[in-house]
């Protein structure tokens, strides 16, 4: 995670917010394609 003493910088927080939002998008799309397929009875 972010090095000590830096997580408080507003710029650092903006970077992390962007990054986590994009991680959520990526997982969301994966889940949409594959999670949903399993849910609907692929197994």
């Amino acid at each position: 995670m972010s090095p000590a003493g830096q997580s408080s910088s507003p710029k650092r927080r903006a970077v992390l917010r962007t990054a986590w939002a994009l991680v959520a998008v990526a997982f969301g799309i994966y889940a949409l394609f594959v999670g949903r397929a399993f849910w609907q009875g692929g197994l």
């Binding site: 650092r12 990054a19 998008v25 990526a26 994966y30 394609f33 397929a37 692929g42």
Partner: protein, 537 residues
Amino acid sequence: MTDTTLAHSDSHDHHPTGLARWLFTTNHKEIGTLYLVFSLVMFLVGGAMALVIRAELFAPGLHLVNPEFFNQMTTMHALVMIFAAVMPAFVGLANWMVPLMIGAPDMALPRMNNWSFWIMPFAFTLLLSTLFMPSGGPASGWTLYPPLSLQGGNSLAFVILAIHLMGISSIMGSINIIATILNMRAPGMTLLRMPMFVWTWLITAFLLIAVMPVLAGAVTMLLTDRFFGTSFFNAAGGGDPVLYQHIFWFFGHPEVYIMILPAFGIVSEIIPTFSRKKLFGYTSMVYATASIAFLSFIVWAHHMFTVGMPLGAALFFMYATMVIAVPTGVKIFNWVSTMWRGSMTFETPMLFALGFVVLFTIGGLSGVMLAIVPADFQYHDTYFVVAHFHYVLVTGAVFAIMASVYYWIPKWTGNMYNETLGKIHFWWSTFWVNVLFFPQHYLGLAGMPRRIPDYAIQFTEFNVISSIGGFAFGLGQLLFVYIVWQCARGGQKATDGVWEGARGLEWTVPSPAPLHTFDTPPDVDHPDYVAHTSGTS
């Protein structure tokens, strides 16, 4: 200025040397170099596979390798070139140049950057190792269509793991690039002042985040179909193999644009420099790039016209595909207009950029031919398609990568490359690449299928020509390796500006660029820098 240290906190004071330096580096320039070297090595590996293919096809009836291995070569050649050569080259260029171009001290997430790179050698060692497994490597083509891809050996599991790893690396790299561009720009570097290379990469990174998870979903379902008894793509179990094609190409078509948008960015940097003019139509370039990215999501089924679809669907995908020619045409128009009445010179980067404009356009035109549904029924799965995508990818993406290396290597190494050898490399490559790929159009029109280890004798002549072109083109790339190696070792010292007409913040730092640049953000509105910003202002 306190916040400028945030991005490379731990790399400032101590500097490990040797292997540790490269293993643990969080510096964007060192990571950029790692990506570029990895990519160059993989170009040679993928190139060797291509030469196996061209050797087998040199004449009908040859049996240099057995057909099963031939199929592994066509599959692996594509996977290596796409995922281990072209994409990492662009990521390496982004690492090196994006922070320098927007006045940032480093990438936003330097430690993740280290991971993004170091996953790649593992992923591709794993992928290549399947060639030595009892069942051999994947042999169903890079698209891994079921049911064929499910009928091979267990090595498929390793291929799928490698694809997942590579996808994770790409997603992390893209997150880093987006976070950097959105949060780390120097004061005054507004979005519409960013260099085109930065713009094209920003849009490419969004494409990657949108479609790499789709590819991951597709291959996960392949994995469970093959090893865990699901039937997503198995008709006997109530599934549908065509579903795979839809999912794959929903990833696959944006993927081809992932491999060309950064190339557009590079060419948009180089042509203004050597025309000594500002880029013509900067804003329209930005909008054209965004339009191409958007349209790339609604054309996927042009890869599967022949599986059959309702007439309305075929028409939709045909017209949507043709519409992409409009923003692409805008770009070509703007490049030509930038050159118009410029004082042009023809150093190697410019030669490769011009080669790109002409030869990429040939690939674009054959693409429009392929988009015509009834024509595609004839061309699909023939060498015409092979000719099309090699024009857009070799004389397109790869030529742009070559151009960018010649353009920026003086900034990376502090030395000029050997201009005479660079020009020889350009003319040699341009001549032979056409000998290699142009005849493949005729082979396709005459009906020669792609991905076959042998062919009927009426295809002999064009195959001989193509193979000769392939070997000569391949030989020429050894010259490129030599030029890069020579330039890294020494040579005439480069000035900071390097090129007379070059604009952009990257040219305001010394050559070679020191490990740390823009620790204090440049004031882009300062008169010293204004002349160096492209864009609208």
